[in-house]
Subunit: 116 residues, 2 copies
Amino acid sequence: MIYSKELLKGTLEVIVLQVLSENGKMYGYELSQMVKEKTDGKIHLKDGSLYPALHKMTKDGILTFEEVSIGKRVRKYYKLTAKGEEQKQTLLDEMRDFIKTMEKVVFNEFKIAPVI
Amino acid sequence: MIYSKELLKGTLEVIVLQVLSENGKMYGYELSQMVKEKTDGKIHLKDGSLYPALHKMTKDGILTFEEVSIGKRVRKYYKLTAKGEEQKQTLLDEMRDFIKTMEKVVFNEFKIAPVI
DNA sequence: TTGGATATATCGTATTATGATGTATTACTT
DNA sequence: AAGTAATACATCATAATACGATATATCCAA
């Protein structure tokens, strides 16, 4: 099952940072597979999104990578920089706040249980 | 405080449907004020987003409106159609699922608490 | 030997909320 | 009385982002 794509906007970077942070070192394909598994196929990072995102984050100094040859193939193992750890925290906080706010507005969690 | 705009993508319609549904009948400005209050100013539906959204939803048959003259002003009171109620349910379910999935991936809520 | 999984990459496109801009009324403040 | 903020609606060009399409190449199993 796939979500309305729009809801996923703004989530790619947090997801990448969090999953990379959990696992230390990962290459793109591995990362996308892990996210797919963890979400029961609900979130499927596509090549067209993931690789450009990894490039951008590297350029922004929040990721670094190291090339490892596997036979004739070259894998790029990415990991967070110190700046990446900071960014992760910022984005996690933002996500937490966003979810809390959405729950308030959409699920009425602000309502006091009526006294009967 | 304002969220990263991208996180709010895909949330406008659910928010409008839910808040309208709660209050029965509302006009645009009223709706935007209510959302702002409920979220402590964190979500501020802008004119440039809200009015086009209301028009589109009306065109799509999930909202109807009724014009009410207040002095020389004309207010448009919107409410959900039957189709709008269905759409609200669909979008609420989707939002619930989305939040659950994000919590799983980003906040590791899938992890079993370690037995000590 | 052919197809599927692995692995990376690029680029045009669609979607969506926003910012800018505009019009007009009503209420408050000095 | 004048000025300004809030009320109330509207439109359109623009930016941001993930995706689809497309491409290349390796490895493995049927």
